[in-house]
Amino acid sequence: MSPLFIDILLFTLLAMTALAIVRLRNLFAVTMLASIFSLLAAGLFVNLDAVDVAFTEAAVGGGISTVLMLCALTLTKRDEKRTGHTAWLALLLCAVTGAGLVYGTLDMPAFGSPDAPIHTHVAPDYIARAKAETGVPNIVTAVLASYRGYDTLGETTVIFAAGIAVLLLLGFKRSDKREGGEE
C-alpha cells in the first residue's frame, strides 16, 4: 500500500534503534528502546499491509514484553556487565545467516504480485472448498482451526509453555496461590 520511501525511513529508524540498543549499557534505557523498536516494527508491518502481525507485535513487543522486562529488571542490576571479549564469531554467524535469508528471498515472487502461487491456486481453492469441507462460515477461521488445526494447537502449546516458563523464572512467591487458580 505504501510509498517506498516510508518503508526506507522506518527501516533507517529501526536500524538506528537497534544500534543504540547494542551500544547502551543501562538496562532500563535498553528496555525503553526495545519498546520503541517494537512500535517502529509494528508501524512498518502496518505499512507492509501485514496488519495482524502488526497487532501482535504491538501487543506483545510494545506492551507485555516491556512489562516483563521491567519485572526482570527488579531482579537484576541496573547496568549491563562489561565483558572483555568481542563477539566476532557471533557477528559473522549473524551476517552469514542474514545473507542466506536475503538470498532466499531472491526466489520469491515480487511483493504483492498477483502471479504468486498463493493467489493462483491456494487461495481460490480455499475459497471454493472451505465452506463445503469444514462447514465454518469464516474462511480465515476454517484455515486456522481446521486445515491448520495441528499447527495452531502446536503454537498454542509453545506459547503456553513459554508463559509458564517465564512465570517460573521470575518466581512470584506471593501470588503462587492465584496463579495455581488461573492454570
Binding site: 525503553m32 512500535l39 502496518v46 497487532f55 510494545g62
Partner: protein, 99 residues
C-alpha cells in the same frame, strides 16, 4: 494528499528528534517520556498513512496502539515507584497484577 504527505514528513522529523532524545537522554525520565511520545507519534503516523494511501480503516489499529502505549508507560512508572520502596518480592507481585 499533499497535506497528508507534509504531515507524514513532519511526523518523521519528530520521530527522529525523539529517538535522539531517547538515545542520549541523561535521565531515565527522559527515556520514559520519549517512549510515551514515540508511541503517540506511531499512532499518528499510522493514522496519517491511512489517509495518505486512501485507506483510513487503519484508524482503529492506531487506537489499539494508543492503549498499549498507555499500559507500557504505566508499567514503567510503577517500576520507578516500587523500586524505590525496596524489596523484590512484593514489588514483583504488585506489578504482576497490572501485567
Amino acid at each position: 494528499m499533499n497535506m497528508f504527505a507534509a504531515a507524514c514528513a513532519a511526523l518523521f522529523v519528530a520521530m527522529l528528534l525523539i529517538l535522539i532524545r531517547s538515545f542520549m537522554g541523561p535521565t531515565l525520565y527522559d527515556r520514559v517520556l520519549a517512549v510515551n511520545a514515540f508511541g503517540t507519534l506511531t499512532v499518528l503516523l499510522i493514522g496519517t498513512m491511512g489517509f495518505l494511501t486512501g485507506r483510513p480503516d487503519f484508524l482503529d489499529i492506531a487506537l489499539l496502539y494508543a492503549l498499549i502505549n498507555f499500559i507500557g508507560t504505566i508499567a514503567a512508572l510503577k517500576f520507578f515507584r516500587y523500586r524505590s520502596l525496596g524489596k523484590a518480592a512484593p514489588k514483583g507481585a504488585a506489578r504482576q497484577e497490572d501485567a
